[in-house]
């Protein structure tokens, strides 16, 4: 029998605010243990939490960017569980009145992954287990999070990967989070079950907690799918439980401890007042959202004539897209800019993190200048390429790197002269060409290009050379 995979995601995204959700301590990553703390975020009795305005704004941005409805009235609740990473023995979260409801993310295959809700909450502290005891650092305690809960609409590992990638990209574009999975600013819990293909009934699910890499998510889901199918095939039952994924052995195993207790005894936090979201404010925030990556990609393809695959690469990193848009201002051939970025420029930025930061020496304005020189026929592609290399190395503008004569082009007389010289200097290639080897002409064109320092028009040179040879 064939089995279908069914998965839903709970994604925690750390918001890029300056301060924590309920106090004014910094949210900076790292720092000596317990140096970003105050009585509020270490849960001392008698302290009062005050909600950070920007947390509400960012959560609304996230909701609007994922097609959610924004609640008019929302509130904070206490989620009780006893564990040392939570100094108050409860987490302030949202239970039945989250800020955002009923959104979706559309995948490239046209399927929509529905988003049930997005709520705001505080992060827990960090525990380090050593020598029979546990060390607690509350720097991360109280850092604002949004939790994005999807419906169980994901049907394959590929869809899961695309969903997480899209979510990550959207959050980065709207500036609410850097979503660095390796630093924990984006983490996923994956709910997964299997069912016979064609069945409408959901199988028993398991939950893989705290996944912090897309490739691990894919591997863990594959493992868990196979494990559940094997259990069912051998007549056993899948037990609903919380699992931990071990990336060394590539297996999942049951988790014990706090996750066993499921009764969180939610109740309204009496220290925090109601959140009202005026409709005008929602519209203001909606209007302030930037163009989202997929709309951008579509525009690049339809209006700028960029191939689909290249457009996807350009929008994958927000800074790259911004760079591209500045580089093509007023140019005739946006595709040239795209080719330069994806080819030559990407070769100088090695990994994902560097592409994300996209700090390169050649400014978008100087690339813009270079492309305009090509557009106006002042320089040829070969010369442009070598100039771009120099720009990337030195940060100089093309006009600083190119001399007057470089930009003067090559007039017909000079081209003619060079072509005659090339024919005379390459008798073997000429003979080969005469004997029917079409390609031999390329070597002669190469001679022209080299001796004109890339200024010659290769197509015109080839025509000229063929004419000279046939006239011999």
């Amino acid at each position: 029998m064939k089995y279908e995979l069914v998965a839903g995601f709970e994604t925690h995204v750390e918001l890029a605010t300056n301060t924590k959700i309920f106090c004014s301590c910094t949210t900076q990553f790292g720092g000596e243990p317990n140096t970003h703390c105050c009585p509020v975020c270490i849960g001392l009795p008698g302290t009062l939490p005050r909600l950070n305005k920007r947390v509400v704004e960012y959560a609304i941005r996230a909701g609007l960017a994922t097609n959610c409805e924004i609640a008019e009235i929302s509130k904070m609740d206490r989620k009780n569980y006893c564990y040392p990473d939570l100094p108050k023995a409860y987490q302030i979260s949202q239970f039945d009145m989250p800020l955002c409801n009923h959104g979706y993310i559309e995948l490239s295959n046209g399927r929509r992954i529905r988003i049930l809700r997005i709520h705001i909450e505080e992060d827990a502290g960090k525990l380090v287990h050593s020598r029979g005891s546990t060390l607690v650092d509350y720097n991360r305690g109280g850092v604002p999070l949004i939790e994005i809960v999807s419906e169980p609409d994901i049907r394959s590992v590929e869809e899961a990967k695309e969903y997480v990638e899209k979510l990550q990209l959207i959050m980065r574009y709207i500036g609410v989070s850097d979503c660095k999975m390796q630093e924990g600013s984006m983490r996923c819990d994956v709910n997964i079950s299997v069912r016979p293909e064609g069945s409408e009934k959901l199988g028993t699910r398991t939950e893989i907690k705290n996944m912090n890499s897309i490739s691990f998510i894919a591997k863990a889901m594959e493992y868990e799918y196979n494990r559940q199918v094997d259990l069912i095939e051998s007549g056993e039952k899948v037990i609903q439980e919380t699992l931990r994924y071990d990336d060394v052995t590539n297996t999942t195993s049951g988790m014990r401890g706090k996750e066993d207790a499921n009764d969180y005894r939610y109740f309204r936090d009496p220290d925090l007042v109601t959140i009202n979201v005026p409709r005008e404010r929602v519209e203001e925030i909606r209007a302030s959202l930037p163009e989202l990556p997929f709309a951008k990609q579509e525009r690049y393809v339809n209006e700028l004539g960029i191939p689909e695959k290249d457009a996807a690469l350009l929008v994958k990193y927000r800074r790259v897209a911004e760079y591209f848009e500045r580089a093509i201002e007023g140019v005739k051939t946006p595709k040239t800019a795209s080719n330069f970025i994806i080819g030559q420029i990407f070769r100088t930025v090695e990994n994902e993190a560097e592409k994300e930061a996209f700090e390169i020496k050649a400014s978008a304005e100087s690339l813009n200048e270079l492309i305009k020189l090509i557009d106006s026929g002042k320089i040829r592609m070969n010369l442009a390429k070598s100039t771009l290399d120099k720009m990337l190395e030195t940060g100089k503008r093309p006009t600083e790197l190119l001399s007057e004569s470089d930009m003067a082009g090559l007039d017909e007389g000079a081209l003619n002269e060079l072509c005659e010289k090339a024919v005379a200097a390459n008798p073997n290639a000429v003979a080969d060409f005469k004997n029917g080897k079409e390609k031999a002409v390329k070597a002669i064109v190469g001679f022209v290009m080299k001796n004109s320092r890339g200024k010659a028009d290769a197509v015109a040179a080839e025509e000229r050379i063929k004419a000279i040879i046939s006239a011999q």
Binding site: T19, C25, T26, N34, T35, C37, L44, K53, L127, V136
Partner: protein, 86 residues
């Protein structure tokens, strides 16, 4: 006594009797809530305030010594608790 131990409070022997009596009175006072009528009372948001929000501006955190001052035990700048992983 149990509450004192759980709360990590030191109670002198001659204080026990008085405190026990006080505690019983506090608990019986809390019981009077049960006799109150629930009708027409909105227990949620009784102060009818909304949107008490704070600007996102950093205020220096506390010195670590002060943060850890009330900790029962500490090590390497961290709160030290009994191992919770079995």
């Amino acid at each position: 006594m149990k509450i004192a131990i759980l709360s990590k409070l030191f109670v002198a022997d001659d204080e026990i009797e008085q405190l026990t009596e006080d505690m019983s009175r506090i608990i019986s006072f809390a019981d009077t809530i049960n006799s109150a009528s629930e009708e027409g009372t909105d227990f949620d948001n009784i102060n009818s305030l909304s949107n008490v929000l704070r600007e996102d501006e950093v205020v220096p955190s506390y010195d670590r010594e002060r943060i850890l001052a009330n900790a029962k035990d500490s090590d390497e700048g961290c709160f030290l608790v009994k191992n919770i992983m079995k």
